[in-house]
């Protein structure tokens, strides 16, 4: 047992790097700016959390008179479990199969289940952190508003601790099964990407099925039923995913027989699925893992003519670096899934949402609402949609981090930092263009946006894309994460991606603020669009210029 504990501790330490972070901050006295940065981030997120709490409070005020307030807990729990399901998929595939330390762990005298549990523990901690901003406010606000007793808080802690287990266990078992099959094939990387896309779409479909089952048949009789039957709405939602109902009752009825029963059922199912992981791990984990990195190469000597054909006749360094970026991104499944495919899949999600749920409150409905307004707002709304789809995927904000331990080559080749950054910019911008194109296709074909309006929106998105791509690259260049052992660290778990997200939101907020001021000043129509374009062009030019200047300094300073 102590052996497993020691493995778990080593896994958690190497992943969360607490000792390394403390050493860097307090001993080496580097990265001290993290402390104020995290402080600022915490202060920055407070208004959002406060707004979220106010929303929960107003919903509670609406649902409480009809006896349906527990639905809030169910929604919070469902949201948390959905997040775990979605993020868990990326975390599991990356931690279980692409961590570089696995090469060191496999030869050690650990059972497959022990190695997998050490990775599972890391993912579990990640999931607890991911759920904090969405689930905790629901549990806390509900507890305060319902003047909950201590049993509620004890139940809430137990449910929060168990919450990620069921979805994470489901994802783990599915991924381990998928990778076992993938490992039987020759084109492993391609199969990983295909399998991953299928699973992401399946997760989305599951979420929308649950959402639809909750909203189906909301006629007058059903609404009237809520007044006479407390928790009927809860049961309706729970029909799609029963664990959310057990968890809700375990918290809301904590201390009563119903609460204890629900908690026991919830814990028992969690444990059962966890046991399923243990079984799967011993039977399938290593059979899917060992050899997954193997690449079957053909042994064939190129003829002199073939060699002459394949040896490049001298491309410009910018093109050579661009092609390197393109190839590495597309050939690394984790990078491909998080970069290119996210840019293309995001608009598809909107399509699925609009096809599966014509209800209220979903983003697609918001977009439809937006696009049914006056043409100026249609253009602005469409442009924002394109920018969200194209630029918020982490390609730009991991442009340097993705190089990892290979960054030494970028330091020693005789190519100026500006040329290297230009090539990387071109690559990140191309990914953004793919997102813009996918978003524009959805706007035109699904939401029936007129081509002229769409073209103007594309022009605005193209301009904004320069600013957002440059901003993401500046942030990653300022603090590239080059010592990762798991490719997911470089892109999905890279703090730079989150910082860039907030920076992008900041840039869009500035543009939005200026637009609002212009509208108040009476500017409208084509003049407003022209003014927004001018503002975006200036911000883009400034960001791009700063990126080039910053590149000269940072390439000198980054030590590897």
């Amino acid at each position: 047992m102590s052996r497993l504990v020691s493995l778990l501790r080593a896994g958690l330490r190497s992943n969360f790097g607490l000792s390394v972070a403390l050493h860097r901050i307090f001993v080496e006295k580097k990265d001290r700016w993290y402390i104020p940065l995290f402080g600022l981030a915490a202060i920055g997120i407070l208004p959002t959390l406060y707004g979220y709490a106010l929303l929960i409070k107003s919903l509670y005020g609406f649902l409480q008179p009809i006896g349906q307030e527990r639905v809030l807990l169910t929604y919070g729990i469902l949201l948390g479990q959905f997040l775990v399901l979605l993020f868990g998929f990326y975390y599991v595939i990356s931690a279980f199969y692409f961590s570089r330390d696995l090469e060191m762990l496999i030869p050690l005298p650990f059972r497959p289940v022990e190695v997998m549990l050490s990775k599972f523990a890391v993912i579990l901690v990640n999931e607890y952190l991911t759920m904090i901003p969405l689930v905790l406010p629901v549990l806390i606000t509900y507890g305060i508003l319902s003047k909950a007793r201590s049993s509620y808080w004890a139940g809430a802690i137990a449910v929060y601790a168990l919450l990620p287990v069921i979805p994470l266990a489901i994802v783990s078992i599915l991924v381990v099964g998928m990778m076992r099959l993938v490992n039987l094939t020759r084109k492993k990387d391609v199969m990983i990407v295909i399998g991953s896309v299928v699973m992401i779409v399946a997760v989305m479909a599951l979420q929308f099925t649950i959402g639809r089952s909750a909203g189906r048949g909301m006629g007058v009789e059903a609404v009237a039923g809520f007044f006479f039957s407390p928790n009927s709405l809860l049961s309706r939602i729970g029909a799609g995913f029963p664990p959310s109902v057990w968890a809700t009752r375990a918290v809301a009825d904590a201390g009563t027989a119903s609460g204890w029963t629900s908690l026991c059922v919830f814990a028992a199912v969690s444990l059962l699925l966890f046991w399923g992981i243990l079984i799967t791990a011993d039977k399938l984990f290593y059979r899917g893992l060992i050899g997954i990195g193997e690449v079957s190469g053909r042994k064939r000597t190129l003829s002199r003519k073939e060699m002459s054909h394949r040896v490049s006749s001298g491309r410009r360094p910018i093109r050579a670096i661009f092609e390197r970026e393109w190839r590495i991104m597309n050939r690394t499944p984790i990078f491909l899934l998080n970069g290119v495919l996210t840019a293309v899949i995001l608009p598809l999600i909107f399509v699925v949402m609009s096809k599966m749920d014509s209800g209220r409150g979903d983003p697609a409905a918001m977009l439809r609402f937006l696009t049914s307004s006056t043409s100026v707002y249609v253009i602005l709304g469409a442009a924002v949609f394109m920018v969200v789809c194209g630029c918020l995927n982490g390609t730009a904000s991991s442009a340097f981090s993705r190089e990892g331990g290979q960054f030494w080559m970028s330091k020693v080749i005789p190519v100026t930092p500006r040329e290297q950054v230009l090539a990387k910019f071109a690559h990140s911008y191309l990914i953004a263009l793919l997102g813009f194109a996918a978003a524009a296709t959805v706007l035109v074909l699904v939401l029936h946006l007129g081509a002229p309006v769409c073209l103007v929106a594309v022009l605005l998105a193209l301009t904004a894309g320069i600013a957002l791509t440059a901003a993401g690259m500046i942030i990653d260049l300022a603090r590239p994460l080059l010592d990762w052992i798991n490719p997911m660290k470089a892109i999905k778990q890279n703090l730079n991606v989150l910082i860039a997200f907030f920076a992008d939101m900041g840039i869009l907020a500035v543009v939005w603020g200026i637009t609002t001021l212009l509208v108040k000043a009476g500017v409208g129509g084509a003049s407003l669009i022209a003014a927004v374009f001018a503002v975006l062009a200036v911000i883009s030019a400034l960001c791009f210029r700063f990126l080039l200047i910053f590149a000269d300094k940072r390439y000198r300073d980054i030590e590897v």
Binding site: G297, R298, R300, V311, S313, R324, M409, I413, V560
Partner: protein, 242 residues
């Protein structure tokens, strides 16, 4: 030619001195072997020469060009092989060599000739179109060495280049190193293999705890410690024994 003048580098805000006031000149046409125990400062020195680390103080010049001020010119005449062949695993060997050829602006005819020659020597011709990910450690080392030879640099800086090489490949590399310097070019390399240093190097430097404790030809080193014995291994052990 490499000129290192009073170069120092420390970590942990000056608490750990990795290189301390290093003064060293490697002449053109010379194979210079850089020896030292683990953690003595060899890799730090090498990384400062090729621009991966910035010296805290002092200057480094390659063929008269300051590595700080004229970094791009220095890079265009220098190639480097790290102590661990961390290369783009998702590229094929040939794609990697093409990338290096493009970065250094190597003309196609020269590129084709050298790639063909070194793939033959290193027996990599059958694997060159496969992803580097599928290579063994030794094959990765060979592809990195081929990439370093490809631009026909004036100065080569190699950090433990023999590690992972089979005896035949190591033999060919040593022959190349000699020919490279016979053409008036410079080669600076670190190694833990005393026999290689003794037989191959024109001059040898020994670094310990960041300081250069001995430098010269084999004959010069023998004079420093006459009691140590005739072999470089004995001299090394005697000088670095603390």
């Amino acid at each position: 030619m490499i000129e290192i003048r009073n170069v120092s580098k420390s970590y942990n805000k000056g608490k750990v001195k990795a290189v301390d006031g290093l003064d060293l000149t490697v002449k053109a046409g010379e194979i210079f072997g850089f020896l030292g125990p683990n953690g003595a400062g060899k890799t730090t020195t090498i990384k400062m020469i090729v621009g991966l680390l910035k010296p805290d103080s002092g200057t480094i010049a390659v063929n008269g060009l300051d590595t700080g001020r004229d970094s791009l010119k220095c890079k265009s005449i220098t190639t480097y092989v790290p102590d661990y062949p961390a290369v783009y695993e998702r590229l094929s060997g040939l794609e990697y060599l093409n990338f290096i050829g493009d970065a250094y602006g190597v003309p196609k005819s020269e590129r084709l000739e050298r790639i063909d020659q070194w793939l033959e020597i290193f027996e990599l011709k059958q694997a060159v179109t496969n992803p580097i990910q599928s290579y063994s450690h030794g094959m990765k080392q060979k592809i990195v060495l081929t990439a370093a030879i490809l631009p026909a640099p004036e100065v080569m800086v190699l950090d433990e280049p023999m590690v992972g090489l089979d005896p035949r490949a190591a033999h060919h590399l040593k022959e190349f190193m000699r020919e490279h310097c016979d053409r008036g070019k410079t080669l600076f390399f670190s190694t833990h293999i005393m026999e290689v240093a003794e037989k191959l190097c024109d001059r040898i430097g020994i670094i310990n705890k960041g300081k250069l404790i001995a430098c010269g030809t084999m004959e010069d080193l023998k004079k420093i410690d006459r009691e140590a014995g005739p072999s470089l291994e004995n001299i090394f052990l005697e000088l670095t024994d603390t």
